[in-house]
């Protein structure tokens, strides 16, 4: 029998192509468009090639923001992941009233809009009317997040931990719940210590969800904008100006559309690259274990 060669099936993917084009590719291309041109207003543009990219890659401002961003993301990951696992380990395992209460309480911070979270902590930390700021001030501790960059950092990190550890807790808890009882019983019979149970049963079984937790927290924290913007506005000085805050300052504050577009693309590629490396390493380590 002769096979009919028919390429019409390609039309079946057309809707997806269109959807992705309109939702992602075309908007991204407008940014690409800006990143290679300059304008003096009046909607007149001229070609500058890769000048903006060279400028951004060489600028200290970008380097500093990237450095701050890396420190911030590393810090919150180092706190949130272990803390989330710790909390999940201590939640009631059996489904029932108490585990439901715990889940609701843990999930609450996740339900609060980001700018509200910022506002809450902005007020909470104020030394004139905020519960935290006022208390610390009265105790004689020098705390003022609007003037002291260390205090500003601590506030933003604690805020992020408060807001997002819940996500790690929920994911870890789901991972823990999926471990059959037999594993714990077997560990008892084998006289495994608490540490061994964690190391050889709980951690390996949580690996999958933890990978997702780390990826999500990495991407989200690397793009963080709203909360620190509401609390510190990137200050004092530029102490808490992370990449996205810097980008918005450049694009909207200074209306430097060309450099901002180049900045956006570099920013986007950095996140993509790190996520890809991270994912590949994890998947590869899985495969290696599987050999």
């Amino acid at each position: 029998m002769n096979k009919t060669h028919n390429q019409k099936a390609w039309f079946m993917v057309l809707p997806v192509v269109l959807l992705v084009a309109f939702s992602a590719v075309i908007p991204l291309m407008t940014v690409v468009n800006y990143s290679v041109q300059d304008t003096f207003g009046n909607n007149e543009f001229f070609w500058v090639g890769l000048e903006w990219f060279e400028e951004i890659l060489a600028s200290n401002r970008m380097h500093d923001a990237l450095g701050r961003q890396v420190i911030f993301t590393t810090t919150i990951l180092l706190i949130e992941i272990p803390l989330g696992i710790f909390v999940a380990l201590h939640m009631p395992k059996k489904s029932g009233f108490w585990s439901s209460i715990c889940l609701v309480l843990v999930a609450l911070p996740l339900l609060i809009p980001w700018n509200v979270v910022g506002t809450i902590w902005q007020i909470f930390g104020r030394i004139d009317i905020g519960l935290l700021g006022y208390t610390l001030d009265q105790m004689g501790i020098d705390y003022n997040y609007t003037q002291d960059s260390f205090a500003a950092w601590v506030t933003i990190i604690i805020m992020d931990v408060w807001h997002w550890t819940s996500l790690v807790v929920l994911l870890s808890y789901a991972g823990l719940k999926s471990i059959p009882d037999a594993y714990y019983q077997a560990a008892k019979i084998d006289q495994a210590s608490r540490l061994s149970v964690f190391r050889y049963i709980e951690l390996p079984k949580m690996k999958g969800v933890l990978l997702i937790a780390i990826l999500l927290r990495f991407m989200d924290s690397f793009m963080i904008y709203t909360e620190p913007f509401v609390v510190t506005g990137g200050g004092p000085g530029s102490a808490t100006t992370f990449l996205s805050i810097d980008l918005v300052k450049m694009a909207i504050g200074q209306f430097d559309l060309g450099p901002a577009a180049a900045f956006s693309l570099i920013y986007f590629l950095v996140i993509l690259l790190i996520s890809w490396v991270f994912y590949t390493v994890m998947v590869h380590s899985d495969k290696e274990a599987g050999l």
Binding site: A182, S193, S196, Y200, P204
Partner: protein, 352 residues
């Protein structure tokens, strides 16, 4: 290794509930392989968990070699258990998995190495000792679980909770035979929970048949086949199970409706529900009108024998005939081998 005594043992999950396990007194001998056999929900896993210490019984006590261990936890009872699904430590190699119970007990390194190799040899894991457990198939993983159960020499008992559920049928047979051989070699007290009669009968020295939280019979496979202590044992074991027919008894005669059947011995008068039990293997078709008249509904050829599905009025009777059996129209009667009939009063076996 230990003798296990269950003294007035019973369990209910909450006060006021029905007993999940009805009060029982049993002594299980040291070094014997027992199978706990029964349908789902009969309490066999409950009993196993009580023996292993994962569950504390609400009444009575468990004794290992005369020592009361009822309140002791699993670790201090010194038992090993293999679960329904393979429990392996994924990130460890097969070797480390097998060594884990020994390492936790801080045994000598040389001894551990030697012992692990011994067990690997017995369970056929030698070639893959240095592989990560994660990558292996379910039946190999279950072999690791078995190996971890066998690795300690001084255990009081090894418990198996339907360990072959996830194993392919042809591997099942092989593993079961291996287990049986290992039992002969090691001489541990073994308790094996299953709902599969073949598994129980091939593995165990003694089979403990359970029904609704009660042990209805403990016996060797032969005893269970020839003298079921309870009608449930009769039809749960054997394929097809024992024929159970309502009868009236007068001395050494039994009456099914008005048909007389001779018995091997005489019985006292009994009250309650009286039944006669006879295995399909011990009924033959005949053309003698003095035997029980039956109608044959169909004949199933299962290869090396034939199952004849028949009925006397509306009571079903199964008969097993050998391969060479030829049906003919005049075979309208069933003859019972009288030395193989058992009489049951309210489901329990009556001795003459």
């Amino acid at each position: 290794m230990a003798k296990i005594t269950l003294s007035n043992l019973a369990h209910r999950y909450a006060p006021g509930d029905n007993y999940a396990l009805k009060p029982m007194n049993h002594v299980w001998d040291d070094g014997t392989a027992y199978a706990l056999l029964g349908p789902s929900g009969c309490g066999k896993t409950t009993l196993l968990n009580i023996i292993s210490g994962l569950l504390t019984p609400s009444d009575g006590s468990v004794l290992f070699n005369g020592d009361d261990v009822t309140k002791k936890d699993t670790a201090s009872r010194n038992i090993a258990q293999v679960f329904q699904f393979p429990v392996v430590y994924d990130t460890m190699t097969v070797r480390d998995n097998l060594a884990f119970p020994l390492k936790n007990r801080k045994l000598d390194t040389d001894y551990i190495k030697r012992r692990v190799e011994e067990i690997a040899d017995m369970t056929g894991l030698t070639d893959i000792l240095d592989k990560k457990a994660l990558s292996l198939t379910a039946d190999v993983k279950q072999k690791i679980s078995l190996g971890r159960g066998l690795v300690r020499e001084d255990v009081n008992a090894i418990l198996f909770d339907e360990p072959l559920t996830v194993i392919d049928p042809h591997m099942k047979w092989q593993l079961r035979t291996e287990l049986k051989a290992l039992h002969k070699k090691l001489g541990h007290t073994m308790i094996y929970v299953t709902h599969d009669q073949t598994e129980a009968l091939t593995f165990a020295d003694k089979v403990v048949v359970m029904l609704e939280g009660e042990v209805v019979q403990i016996g060797t496979p032969t005893e269970l086949f020839e003298k079921p202590g309870h009608t449930f044992v009769g039809y749960f074991i054997g394929s097809p199970g024992m024929n159970i027919l309502p009868v009236k008894i007068k001395g050494d005669k039994a009456y099914i409706a008005n048909h007389e059947i001779a018995l091997a011995q005489g019985y006292k008068d009994m009250t309650g529900k009286i039944e006669i039990g006879i295995r399909p293997e011990f009924i033959t078709l005949s053309n003698n009108p003095s035997d029980l008249p039956i109608t044959i509904k169909r004949i199933e050829d299962v290869g090396h024998y034939k199952i004849i599905r028949a009925a006397h009025k509306d009571i079903d009777i199964n008969i097993i005939a050998n391969e060479a059996f030829e049906f003919s129209e005049d075979l309208k009667y069933a003859r019972f081998d009288k030395s193989r009939t058992n009489i049951y009063a309210d489901d329990w076996l009556v001795e003459p």
